[in-house]
Amino acid sequence: MTNTPGRPFPSRIAGAFARARAQGRKTLVLYLTGCDPDFDTSRRLLLAAAQAGADVLELGVPWSDPSADGPAIQAAMRRALAAGGGMAKALDLCRTVRAANPEIPVVLFGYANPIFVRGTAKFAAQAKQAGADGVLCVDWPPDEDPELAQTLAQHALDLVPLIAPTSTPERVKAIAAVAGGFLYYVSLTGITGSQLPNLDETSARVRQVRELSGGRLPVAVGFGIATPADARAVAGFADGVVVGSAAVRVIERAVAAGRDPVPALEAFVSDLRAAMG
């Protein structure tokens, strides 16, 4: 069984996209690295982001070797690891966020090794129990090794996949077939936190991804969306907008200045929300 929209379990992620659509607006997906700068601040940041208008939270699982991430998220992961962060703490964090906010969809966003070492079945059970809704594993292509997709489906968790500018039509189809929640289209060939490319091309690719996937799932666009203006531009053609590195940098700046990062992040998320209409 794959995790399709007709599946027998309700998905908070699908609900969030449907609700935004009904309200005539686009979905804001916010990425934060779990435990950056520490467990409790991270918990407050995630809850504040939801309060300020993020529709979906991506909770980044810190890893020692984030080879798909740029300097901002690398640094966030280093801060998080120094504060005791990792997979175990990310699951704890998810649980506390879920306890405080029963509505907000949470996607655990990370790399394969912490999942693999734990065992996919044990990980999926713990993620579900912690109140997660989906999993995005950067370096585990679902067609390469179906184990993760199958295990997540058994635990009624959405597998949120990445689709890249380099993905061939065949790959887009194969990936979309096992995906749940939404499709994450990577705006550029590069790492997180790079410059946003020419959006005409991105918009054409999003249209193509929708066609290839039969419009079964919403398409969110991420990587390089740094400002409210970027978010507005991308919201013009995508179903959702993912902001990560820019949010992480807001936190980094506040922490470096010795301030509580929560108000700064709240303001940033409200600005994004407002710009997206």
Binding site: D65, L81, N113, P141, I163, T166, S167
Partner: protein, 404 residues
């Protein structure tokens, strides 16, 4: 038929392609290209010509009679010991065998830029060398710690026209250099070929690099048969990512009578936290694009590896070695920093050959292998590189003792 299954780049449960989606199409293209060109007669002829005229192959198989004498004296075991002399390759190590093949492939793929990671700097030098030969711009990622301890190789890369990026992230060693090379590749995948330097990484690298290094084993097989009239009883090689070992093993893997031994770096000892014995002390995981043994904690965070030799200082290992370990076809030993230093001096004084500290680990494994062999047995040790690059490190450890 090889005993190692290789469908879709899998070696039993190991290998595969665990990378971000952006790289998947490039890896498919690379695997297809390798599949095609590795059988293409024109490609093979060009590769063979470069190996002969540029790399300097075949490398000799040198009998090490005084080293064998030392084993006889200290262990009472009469062996014939042969050294496969990859230290005599152009640029000073086996790394060039792989780079020559990959650059030919990159050329066929129309790539205009070359990148690589390096630990000891040998792979960086080899990559910079072929990039110069083919007139391609080249950028090398190297951990900041390694830039320090292998500074001679940094100068060589500069002289060859390559740009060297010191990587300060993480532990600032080989694994972090690989992360940074992957970030570059993800960003420039259309124009750039990533010359991965060992039998690790996503498919097709472990297969491709293993095949390109298998020239070591093919030559050694013919050479030992010419010298002794039969196959060896054991083969011995150091294992960082595992390419020089795989290259030698490939020549004998289907001969069950030939014991295969890999030697990992035990650093300060495998019961301390400072070692790089991935197969000895690690567990199956996912690092740098493949399932294989890794050194990591219960949370899945990769451990810092340690070895005196930068080329073995890596918390991962090629997936084919993980398979050979589990199947028992190969055995994996380890040698400490001190044992490697002693073996380096031993080989220098017995044979007039100063091995790289990586290769010295293989030499250090000889006494344990000798214990498992009987009189009259023959052993091939792969001397994967020469020790010139390590003189700074060695001088620091032996200091006055050597100069006196």
């Amino acid at each position: 038929m090889s005993i190692v299954p290789q469908s879709h780049g899998r070696f039993g449960p190991y290998g595969g392609r665990y990378v971000s989606e952006t790289l998947m199409p490039a890896l498919e293209e690379l695997a297809d290209a390798w599949e095609h060109f590795s059988f293409d007669p024109t490609f093979r002829a060009e590769l063979d010509r470069l190996l002969r005229e540029y790399v300097g192959r075949p490398t000799p198989l040198t009998e090490a009679a005084r080293l064998a004498e030392h084993v006889a004296k200290t262990q009472g075991r009469r062996l014939r010991v042969f050294l496969k002399r990859e230290d005599l390759c152009h640029t000073g190590s086996h790394k060039l065998n792989n780079c020559v093949g990959q650059i030919l492939l990159a050329q066929r793929l129309g790539k205009q830029r070359i990148i690589a990671e390096t630990g000891a700097g040998q792979h960086g030098v080899a990559t910079a060398t072929v990039a110069a030969l083919f007139g391609l711009p080249c950028e090398i990622y190297m951990g900041a710690v390694d830039v320090e301890r292998q500074s001679l190789n940094v100068f060589r890369m500069h002289l060859l026209g390559a740009k060297v990026h010191p990587v300060k992230d993480g532990t600032a060693t080989l694994k972090d250099a690989m992360n940074e090379a992957m970030r570059d590749w993800v960003t420039n995948v259309g124009t750039t070929h990533y010359v991965l330097g060992t039998v690790a990484g996503p498919h097709p690298y472990p297969t491709m690099v293993g095949e390109l290094q298998s020239v070591i084993g093919r030559e050694a097989r013919a050479q030992i048969q010419a010298a002794t009239g039969r196959l060896p009883d054991a083969c011995l090689a150091c294992v960082g990512g595992g390419s020089n070992a795989m290259g030698l093993f490939r020549g004998f893997i289907d001969d069950p009578g030939v014991r295969l031994y890999g030697v990992e770096a035990a650093g300060e000892g495998i019961d301390t936290k400072h070692h790089a014995a991935t197969l000895g002390k690690g567990r199956p995981g996912v690092l740098h694009g493949a399932r294989s043994y890794v050194l990591c904690d219960d949370d899945g965070q990769i451990d810092e590896a340690h070895s005196i030799s930068a080329g073995l200082d890596y918390p991962g290992v090629g997936p084919e070695h993980s398979y050979l370990r589990d199947s028992g076809r190969a055995q994996y030993l380890s040698a400490t920093d001190q044992e490697a230093l002693a073996a380096c001096r031993l080989l220098a004084r017995c044979e007039g050959i100063i091995p790289a500290l990586e290769s010295a680990h293989a030499v250090a494994g000889l006494p344990r292998v000798a214990e498992q062999l009987s009189d009259g047995a023959s052993v091939i040790i792969n001397i994967s590189g020469r020790g010139d690059k390590d003189m700074g490190t060695i001088a620091k450890h032996f200091g006055a003792e050597v100069s006196s």
